[in-house]
């Protein structure tokens, strides 16, 4: 097992290095001139000014040199300076990432906590009301567009019933908790500030439901299908022939097998939640990475784009590592 993890880690490092190269090349080869995007028309027509500006940002060096500089800076944790915000990209990311991390994690937890039991119940009581409910939920979750669901929920619970708070991470009059991790729930709990905790939690409800909807649907559906498939296996009949209680058969024999495909799906779903929250963040004025990425993309802010893409790539790689390791833990056949 340790050897298995070690070999996965080596692989991860190689992949990450490859990712830096791809990201660098992509960012530098897209058509579009960052100079023109950043400078006004007037400044861009001034040749001297443009040349000086290019030299300042290292855009006049040959490609390979720029890549080496990029790598060297990277090794110091330096992702460069954002052209748009004029701040280190790492600083920007540190400011925006926790909001996304919090939202994505809560959404992920929601889809697992609801989706897996729902899928199990649906499979165990096939064709009962709970199965129909599970199918309805997953259908709605997978097929309703994010913006539509967000507006409906906002209209009903915020606009209509007024039981949900509005957009943002906390009330506009409230103050964020002292920053330790940047995750408001965690920080307020650490500070013992339960009023803020409640406020932050309330603000998370609608956006996390919206963000979780598709994942929840997928996880419910996959759990149900995977459970149903495992129930057909011979070892389940053997377990019944042993005289075990059905609860024990479901939890002790079927579930450990049925979870294996869910690990893959869950890992990828989490990665998707982390990186695919742009729409939800925009609608709920969520100051997260998704909006930051969007802004950087439209302004061709290359250092920011590269930095974020790299972080996303590394997050994907780490999640894949976690998937591989959990696979090995769940399925003894993976590691000899």
């Amino acid at each position: 097992m340790p050897q298995y993890i070690l070999s996965r880690l080596v692989l991860l490092f190689v992949m990450a290095l490859l990712a830096t190269l791809v990201i660098f090349l992509l960012a530098n080869m897209v058509p579009g001139d960052p100079v023109l995007a950043q400078l006004g028309d007037l400044a861009a027509s001034n040749k001297e000014f443009v040349a000086e500006w290019r030299a300042k940002w290292g855009l006049d060096l040959p490609l390979w040199q720029r890549y080496l500089i990029f790598l060297q800076q990277l090794s110091h944790g330096d992702l460069g300076i954002s052209i748009a915000s004029q701040r280190p990209v790492l600083q920007d990311v540190r400011d925006f990432a926790p909001a996304t991390l919090e939202l994505a994690s809560v959404s992920f937890a929601l889809s697992l906590i609801v989706g897996i039991p729902l899928g199990i119940m649906a499979a165990v009581r096939r064709d009962s009301w709970i199965d129909h409910l599970a199918r309805l939920i997953s259908l709605i979750g997978v097929s309703s567009p994010t913006f539509w669901l967000a507006f409906i929920l906002l209209a009903v619970f915020y606009g209509g019933l007024q039981i949900a708070p509005g957009p943002g991470r906390i009330d506009s009059i409230g103050l964020p908790p002292p920053s330790v991790t940047g995750l408001y729930l965690l920080d307020s709990a650490l500070a013992g500030d339960w009023a803020t905790f409640r406020d932050a939690a309330a603000h998370l409800v609608l956006p996390s439901i919206v963000l979780a909807a598709a994942t929840l649907g997928l996880i419910t559906r996959t759990t149900r299908a995977s459970m149903l498939e495992c129930m057909q296996q011979d070892y389940v009949r053997v377990a019944r022939a042993k005289g075990l209680r059905s609860r024990r058969i479901v939890i002790g024999h079927i579930l450990p097998n049925a979870l294996i495909p869910i690990v893959t799906l869950g890992g990828l779903a989490y990665a998707n939640l982390l990186t695919g929250a742009v729409l939800t963040e925009t609608i709920f004025s969520w100051p997260g990475l998704g909006r930051y990425t969007f802004r950087s993309a439209v302004s061709l802010d290359f250092p920011a784009i590269m930095g974020i893409t790299l972080i996303v790539a590394v997050v994907y790689l780490i999640i894949n590592l976690v998937i591989d390791v959990s696979y090995a833990l769940l399925d003894p056949r993976v590691v000899r």
């Binding site: 050897q3 070690l6 070999s7 080596v10 296996q233 011979d234 070892y235 009949r237 053997v238 377990a239 019944r240 022939a241 042993k242 005289g243 075990l244 209680r245 024990r248 002790g252 024999h253 450990p256 097998n257 294996i260 769940l330 399925d331 003894p332 056949r333 000899r336």
Partner: protein
């Protein structure tokens, strides 16, 4: 404990059991009025072909059926209590405790993600017989009793670390964990090698004796039943058609279906040289959705009389013997079987030793399969699948390859037709070297060198109609010009394998297993080959269908002068149809001999064990002969033993066997063996 419950009367009493499948197409009466009893400590066999209802009967006894099958009538009394009327809790108390069950496929019967220990311990804990520590200790001792070496270590393993035979031992340990009064074993050895099957069957006999548990053994093979069971039930189309003491039923059956089952199986202990055809009955079991109102076997019965339009009852024909037949109502014996005459009345020309080159000549053939590395820098290991094999096959011969699974016989077959590329060695076919030849160089030879695969379900493309399957090779090799010619050839092929040309428009799933294997054979024949490699062509078929396919292969050989390389694990079949046999062990040939000579005077100890392991469908013969117990399982082909590869299981191995690999040397005419002490065992 429960096993001591040997009170008066049977422990299991089944009356008029009816189990039906409620399918979209209609109601299938899978078990249709089955009545029998099992006494304490008794061994009862249930035999029948697939679809006869024997497995459904077994599952019904413990109410383990899934939707859409339901028990619709009858009574199952276990120690007097009505199983069919029990609540879920009462039922659970019996399952795994009073009645235990062992299933067919040990590879899928154990939960792959749980350790052996957990799976063994939970059955004891579930019934409150032992607490955790006791259960674990008992699990270890049971594993040891079942013949698993180092049970303390084995119990911490996962199922995938065990071979099929070992897993079936674990299943048996599980079955006997709570000392049940009744063990139901559903085809427990069908998925195993013949040597391992012999071990498991012997173990079951011992366990029956030592634990006193009654055993219901379900099998399609009469030989398996004969070696364990005192009494046998024969099932056909959902009914019991014959019941009686095993030796009497096998020696002189009272139902034509039993008669057909017995005669369709070649016997390893009895073979008349020159007779290669087997007695078969035509047709297939009746459509379960529309059972005939009369005798269900009548349509296939060679002895039918007019009375057979009425449904016969299962009546006693002699003390302890029952049969469901009008013909044998007065306990008349059925006549001795004689195989049907060949369709073409040609005498098979004895292949005269020609001075010319053999059709196939293999020298020093080696195939190693690389394994995945254990770690990033670990050395790459290889599986020594075939490790230096020499073999000549003359035109017109039938050569059989036998050996346990993993011995390299299938790999060898695939090398010969160049599905695999050899690691080293020479293969000459019809004067051409094909071992290293390019795909395009082999292509013209492929016409003459065809293969029939084991699984008729997997080897036909489900999206292609039969006509397309058969015409594809014709068009690819440009054998037929016009589409009219192609159609004519396809029709001709179907006729030659005994199928109706009208079936050409159908898809493979519309055929039974036996019919599909006929299509596979037709496809191999399409190009008028000289040489056919058949890899276990009958092992997935019912015995009667096996006999039909064997007869077909024999007829085709005579008609088209074919040469066969025939791979099978069933030695009786191999003896029946092959001229020469090649025995494989762990990638090496250990013995080559004319079929008769090999069975009469085997020289290699392994060959003797193999022959001895085959169960004989004759209770008398089974009791008389002493089975040689081959212990253990073949070692890993990744790291084969030095010297003679069989030495680790050989009772006469000496020091020399570990140092010097024995060469394959001639001992008699055409009889070669690779053993330092050939013939001394």
């Amino acid at each position: 404990m429960s096993a001591q419950n040997t009170g008066p009367g049977p422990i299991l009493d089944v009356r008029d059991l009816r189990t039906q499948f409620f399918t979209d197409a209609g109601v299938v009466r899978a078990v249709d009025g089955v009545t029998f009893t099992v006494d304490a400590g008794e061994t009862v066999g249930i035999v029948g072909e697939s679809g006869s209802g024997k497995s459904v009967t077994a599952l019904s006894l413990m109410r383990l059926l899934d939707e859409p099958s339901r028990i619709v009538g009858g009574e199952v009394r276990f120690r007097g209590a009505d199983v069919l009327a029990m609540s879920e809790d009462e039922l659970r108390a019996i399952r795994g405790d009073g009645i235990a069950m062992v299933f067919q496929d040990p590879m899928t019967s154990l939960n792959p993600v749980l350790r052996i220990a957990r799976q063994l311990v939970e059955i004891m804990q579930a019934h409150g017989r032992f607490d955790g520590e006791q259960a674990r200790a008992r699990a270890i001792s049971l594993l040891g009793r079942m013949g698993i070496t180092a049970p303390q270590r084995a119990i911490r393993s996962y199922p995938h670390q065990f071979s099929g035979g070992m897993r079936q031992r674990v299943m048996l340990a599980m079955g006997f964990a709570n000392e049940p009064a009744l063990l139901i074993a559903d085809e427990p050895t069908t998925a195993l090698d013949v040597t391992i099957q012999a071990q498991i069957l012997d173990l079951m006999v011992e366990l029956n004796r030592d634990f006193g548990a009654a055993i219901i053994l379900i099998s399609h093979a009469l030989g398996v039943i004969a070696s364990v069971c005192r009494r046998v039930l024969v099932m056909y189309a959902g009914e019991v058609v014959e019941e009686g003491p095993t030796e009497q039923v096998l020696a002189s059956p009272r139902h034509p279906y039993t008669w057909a089952l017995i005669n369709a199986v070649p016997r390893i202990d009895r073979h008349l040289p020159g007779t290669r055809r087997l007695t078969t009955i035509e047709g297939a079991p009746p459509d379960p959705l529309a059972m005939p109102s009369g005798c269900r076997f009548a349509a296939r019965c060679p002895f039918r009389i007019s009375k057979c339009d009425e449904h016969p009852p299962l009546d006693e024909v002699a003390p302890g013997r029952k049969a469901r037949c009008w013909v044998t109502k007065g306990n008349e014996a059925l006549p001795q079987a004689s195989p049907p005459p060949p369709t073409t009345a040609t005498i098979r020309p004895k292949s005269e030793k020609s001075a010319t080159e053999p059709l196939l000549s293999v020298r020093g053939l080696v195939k190693h399969f690389p394994l995945r590395r254990d770690g990033l820098f670990a050395p790459r290991k290889v599986v020594h699948a075939v490790d230096g094999v020499d073999l000549d096959v003359e035109a017109g011969e039938t050569v059989g390859l036998v050996g346990e699974s993993g011995c390299g016989k299938s790999t060898f077959a695939r090398l010969v037709v160049r599905i695999h590329e050899p690691t080293a060695g020479r293969i000459r076919f019809a004067g051409h070297d094909i071992a290293q030849a390019s795909a395009s160089a082999i292509r013209p030879l492929r016409r003459r060198l065809q293969m029939v695969f084991q699984d008729p379900y997997a080897s036909l493309n489900p999206r292609m109609r039969v006509a397309e399957i058969l015409s594809e090779p014709l068009r690819f090799h440009g054998l037929t010009g016009t589409s009219a010619e192609t159609t004519a050839r396809v029709d001709e092929l179907l006729v030659s394998v005994g199928l109706n040309p009208k079936m050409a428009t159908r898809f493979p799933h519309e055929f039974s297993g036996g019919q599909r294997q006929r299509i596979s054979i037709a496809r191999a024949l399409a190009l008028n080959p000289d040489f056919i490699v058949a890899d276990e062509p009958i092992s997935s078929l019912d015995v009667n269908i096996q006999a039909q396919v064997i007869n077909l292969l024999v007829d085709l050989q005579e008609k088209f002068q074919l040469t066969y390389l025939f791979i099978a694990h069933d030695l009786a079949v191999v003896r029946h149809i092959c001229d020469r046999l090649v025995v494989f062990y762990l990638g090496k040939v250990v013995e080559i001999a004319p079929a008769e000579d090999l069975f009469m005077r085997p020289l290699h100890p392994y060959t003797r064990y193999l022959i001895s392991a085959v169960p004989i469908p004759d209770a008398d013969a089974e009791r008389r002969r002493k089975r040689l117990p081959l212990v253990g399982e073949p070692p890993s082909a990744v790291d084969p033993p030095s010297g003679c590869r069989f030495r680790t299981r050989c009772p006469i191995a000496q020091d020399i066997c570990a140092d010097v690999p024995p060469p394959l040397t001639p001992h008699r005419t055409g009889h070669l063996a690779a053993c330092h002490f050939a013939g001394q065992f």
